[in-house]
Symmetry: C2
Subunit: 239 residues, 2 copies
DNA sequence: CGCTGCTTTGAAGCCCTTCAAACCAGGTGG
DNA sequence: CCACCTGGTTTGAAGGGCTTCAAAGCAGCG
């Protein structure tokens, strides 16, 4: 059940075996949600944080007009709302994009961890600051990259993140999002995302069809959108 | 020296007096930087975090083309790179917009705090998750708001944040940025920012001249850009 | 086999950019 | 004290990227 998490954490030497054990013992039994379910609602007082075990989810900000901005995409192994431990309520909702399996950690247990497990605390803290680093890269895409580069950059990011949990290789990855989801991530309309996907496909840079992203040449794609994975902090680290 | 910080922290009941004392004892002696100085460079290994005591600073992401995206604006009382404690290096640079006075906290001391001061640790963690919440709101502006709303929304946010440290009131606040800085925050060109500022001024919603933002009617401006300060987590909280 | 929801395509238009030049304020030196 | 210089602001004209609106195409599913 926590294999993914373990792989992800150990890959970066984020957690020791012992710490991993401590953390996994705090996990409640898995719960599932259907695609489209909003499993955390903006503003609601929370007393637990949720680890995504399987499926794709996102953090959505809704505007009064009904428009949406997806502020983050989450994949298996992500602690989708660990930040609710310190914030107590969220400024956005969490939406299941596909069918999702999750496990909850009570905030009380996280609090105990901050009292007794400083190294684990720092690792969890790191996880939230990494989320913030991704937010900043998305701000950069939204503010300064063309629609083509935004799409390409998102695919590059997802390839790296998914490969950390064994869900992507050099040829591509399963990516069960609608074009509307991409549009909401990238600050575009679904219509324009569709046109951009055609251009990228025609240019043989990347294709997104049948719920799958195919990348004929990773290096070429990363060069095209100036993707630099530094913001994902992949290096191993001592703590 | 740490009055601002104290005001900010105590206002939200983030820190107790004792914790405040602990934290202020970790601060090195103040250092100043000239306007335009890049006092933390992207990618450089860091062993301290910096508290902004006076002046305006920002987190800038630079693209290979030379374009810039400002990912965050910082005001007196902000821990501009507290996240470098967990990240060890940054994915962006920190730039002094005006002349700045700062104080450093060695990461070693922060590490000790995580070992011995869980409540303070949670407060510091909160501070980084609040930064992330602001990043998300900026993503929303960049992705889904018009240029007019983006400018207005930024002014609303800065008014609230500055008022927490006594640097703004209902009539406005000192805001010593160039139009180019606004453009780099909002994903626009300086030329367009200029035109938008004229429109907002003509509409009597807000004016930005002589390094000062004047807001004739705060409620009207907040309504115009659908500003909801929930993402700034202003409420008092027990921990 | 028809319904539903997503994708694709077209045409028109607007928001914002680009390029260029004028304007203006503050600081410096003759 | 004015002339000049520099950097930021303002304005105009033209163009392009993305949106909007609308409809057709298409896949999955009851």
């Amino acid at each position: 059940m926590t294999e993914l998490l373990q792989r992800k954490m150990s890959q970066r030497a984020i957690l020791s075996q012992d710490e991993m054990t401590v953390l996994s013992e705090t996990l409640g039994s898995p719960i599932t949600f259907d695609a489209g379910a909003m499993f955390i609602k903006e503003g609601v007082e929370l007393d637990q944080s949720i680890l995504l075990l399987d499926g794709f989810a996102c953090r959505v900000k809704e505007l009064p007009s009904g428009e949406r901005q997806i502020a983050a995409l989450h994949i298996p192994g992500d602690f989708v709302d660990l930040h609710s431990f310190t914030l107590k309520r969220l400024d956005h909702s969490i939406l299941a994009i596909t069918h999702c399996k999750v496990a909850a950690v009570p905030h009380e247990r996280l609090r105990e961890i901050t009292e007794t497990q400083p190294a684990l605390t720092r690792a969890l803290w790191f996880s939230t600051t990494l989320d913030a680093a991704i937010h900043r890269e998305w701000e950069t895409s939204l503010g300064r990259r063309s629609a083509q580069q935004r799409v390409a950059h998102l695919f590059c990011e997802m390839r790296v993140r998914l490969s950390l949990v064994g869900l992507a290789d050099d040829t591509g990855f399963a990516f069960p999002l609608l074009q509307q989801h991409l549009a909401d991530c990238l600050g575009l309309t679904a219509v324009h995302v569709n046109r951009v996907l055609r251009q990228l496909r025609d240019a043989k840079l990347v294709s997104f069809q049948f719920r799958r992203v195919r990348i004929p040449d990773v290096v070429a794609l990363e060069k095209y959108c100036e993707f630099d994975p530094a913001y994902l902090y992949l290096e191993r680290r001592d703590r």
